[in-house]
Symmetry: C2
């Protein structure tokens, strides 16, 4: 019997079921009455950042891109078959992605949920890759990396991250580089799989129309059948806070220039919640520079920016940063104006209780829309088990909190800027 | 009182409500119990193709991109304000897109549905653009066109369409060209707005959790208040079937070569349903070349294609075509192999009753997933009012039908091919 802890969110009539299975797997179930689609996401705590760590007193360093490489190779089934094809034969659509801190494998289906779950749980445990298939894969991944380089926006973002976090895994493409990929061996992949794809380094989120009790039993039964590597005590090496590279200019085959400005904050303390910090910074930036702000309307109205203007806030336990990107014919002027807005936060006409209520309302609306998407919810719950607390958090964040915490972020943050010009 | 016609789809527990309002507006409502997000899409029968037509015995020709230009300019509210901002102040996210045969304006919200609907209905009727703002917009649109040209996949697709439909509006980018945009005047936009944004050339689809009766009343009340241009009897000029341009090669700043192969079919007869034809061709191509086919697995396994391999079927009343695109290091070899598969349709090992059942099942699964997305459903219902009949259609399409109709399509289709190589 799986013991499910029930969390009621009566405010918007949802119930979350959480369990730690005896295998070590963390389980989160979100039943959605009337939905046809079921999305299941299995996430493993092994991401692009995890190339440096110590285990049993020994220091390890692996080439960048190894987590992403492993993601590719676990899709290889027996006899070189593709796991995605096996999902497809069950009527399920499958895929995976590697992020800074984890690798997530998922499927979406309207059919055989239980069989697809069995496949999801088992294929990341079983290894079928060979020395030969590893070498073949290098070409495929190199092409993928080159493709990201071709994409001006991807490249801009990646280069800015390298300026914000120089000489750390964050400075590398998640997929690695040609050189780092070439250096990865069959044994490296086996070793990392043994170390990270372990009993309690996994989290499974399922969103759809099902009975939580029945589904938890099915999942638990599959866990019993699998031979999962035992838990390893790994100590991760914190990211180095080297001096940022303040300015850079690059050339690319594009039409209109692009600019990206990044702010690297101090790492969060142990008692600080990354989700709450993310909300606070988002609310502040929406108020200052979002769609409804006078600044945005001014920039947009005079043609300084177009609707590709974007603000991204990333908060993890051990690092946080904000990235603002724009396509603009006046990259330098825009970067300066953005900095002016941030310097004058408290005195800006956009900072009013009324405008604050509006951005809070927008944020709540975006949350409610996300609730209708099984995929979005699975992805968010994979990162934040307490994601459904957002409405409560929003109620408890005041304009004063946002200003205080936001000002403290920007006062201590290091800033980097990159301009991309047409060749 | 609005008279709503109710269509039950008991097989998957959905009911559609359809009405023709006294204003002339076609209304389609799809209530989704338990959903937070409401999506409303107002579609006007004026698209990129509609540059040549006759009205009251007079022949008209307008520059390409005029429908898209009008889409941009209707977002201009009084005093140069942005309508998108007005939606945003209601907590709604808005946008629009122009396709071959229509322009669609939509919003998504979890809040003030009725007020947002009023705004959606009224802003496409009211015109606030000026001679000056038209000239300013030309720069913005030119930049948008240049951006599409930068995107290798967009450009490949556009060039292939120009090969399939030479010297027709289909050969132009939906947004037009620098020259055609420059030629559009304030009066042209006014005239086209008067001719096409008329009483019964509009269709409104709303998907979300609401009472159909109450919502229909709100929509009808708004219609009463608006002064909508009267219905115009416009005769559209059929697309010319000029000889296709069979082969082309272009150079772009890319890493791996790309190839696209297109098939232009004969226009459908009056009694042929574009939705059904689309399903038939999709099923055939999924069976022949889709993910689960032996051909795909063979191409993929030997590295001839990667997972960007794509098949698109477009069926409209007056034209239909199929486009297959791939990133591959052997564009010529792949194009040949694709043609071989199509030549041997009947004898391929992929063409079995069992495999056919699998692709039907996949197609049904994709439909059910779409049903969970208010945006997808609004978009599909905008084009096909009978979109919910897909499950019934799938039941009634046999493998024999697919082979017979599919073979007839490919036997009479004209073929064009384009290869894009790295500079």
């Amino acid at each position: 019997m799986v013991k499910l802890i029930q969390k009621e969110y009566s405010q918007f009539e949802e119930t979350l079921y959480i369990a730690k299975l005896s295998s070590g797997l963390q389980l989160i179930l979100l039943p959605k009455k009337g939905f046809r689609e079921t999305v299941a996401m299995m996430s493993v705590g092994f991401g692009a950042m995890d190339t440096d760590f110590s285990y049993k007193g020994k220091l390890y360093h692996y080439p960048s891109g190894i987590a992403h490489f492993l993601e590719h190779k676990l899709f290889e089934a027996a006899q070189g078959e593709d796991v995605a094809l096996q999902f497809s034969q069950l009527g399920a659509d499958s895929n995976a992605y590697t992020s800074f801190d984890r690798t997530s494998y998922f499927f979406s289906t309207t059919g055989h949920v239980e069989k697809s779950l069995q496949l999801l749980q088992s294929f990341i445990v079983e290894r079928h890759f060979t020395e030969q298939s590893i070498e073949r894969e290098k070409g495929i991944i190199e092409q993928e990396i080159a493709m990201y380089q071709d994409d001006a926006d991807d490249r801009l973002y990646q280069l800015l991250l390298a300026q914000l976090f120089p000489a750390t895994p964050m400075a590398q493409d998640i997929a690695g580089s040609s050189d780092s990929i070439a250096a990865i061996s069959y044994k490296d992949l086996q070793k990392n799989h043994d170390l990270f794809y372990t009993a309690d380094n996994r989290k499974l989120v399922v969103v759809g129309d099902f009975s939580p009790k029945d589904l938890a039993k099915v999942i638990d039964d599959t866990e019993e059948m699998l031979t999962i590597p035992s838990t390893k005590k790994i100590e991760k090496i914190p990211i180095a806070y080297n001096p940022v590279i303040a300015k850079a200019t690059v050339y690319q085959d594009i039409v209109s220039p692009k600019v990206a400005v990044g702010y690297r904050g101090l790492p969060l303390g142990e008692n600080q919640d990354p989700l709450r910090t993310k909300l606070v910074l988002q609310l502040l930036l929406d108020m200052l520079l979002g769609w409804t702000s006078q600044s945005y309307q001014g920039f947009y109205g005079t043609g300084l920016i177009d609707d590709r203007f974007d603000i991204e806030v990333e908060c993890y336990g051990n690092f946080l940063f904000v990235v603002i990107t724009a396509d603009t014919y006046e990259p330098i002027a825009l970067a300066t104006k953005l900095q002016q807005s941030i310097n004058q936060i408290k005195d800006l006409p956009d900072v009013t209780e009324e405008h604050f209520q509006q951005v809070v309302y927008e944020c709540y609306g975006a949350f409610l829309s996300e609730m209708d998407s099984p995929y979005d919810m699975a992805m968010q719950l994979t990162r934040f088990s307490h994601y459904l607390q957002i409405p409560d958090m929003l109620k408890n964040i005041s304009l004063e909190d946002v200003l205080r915490e936001g000002l403290s972020f920007f006062e201590t943050a290091d800033r980097a800027e990159i301009v991309m010009l047409p060749k």
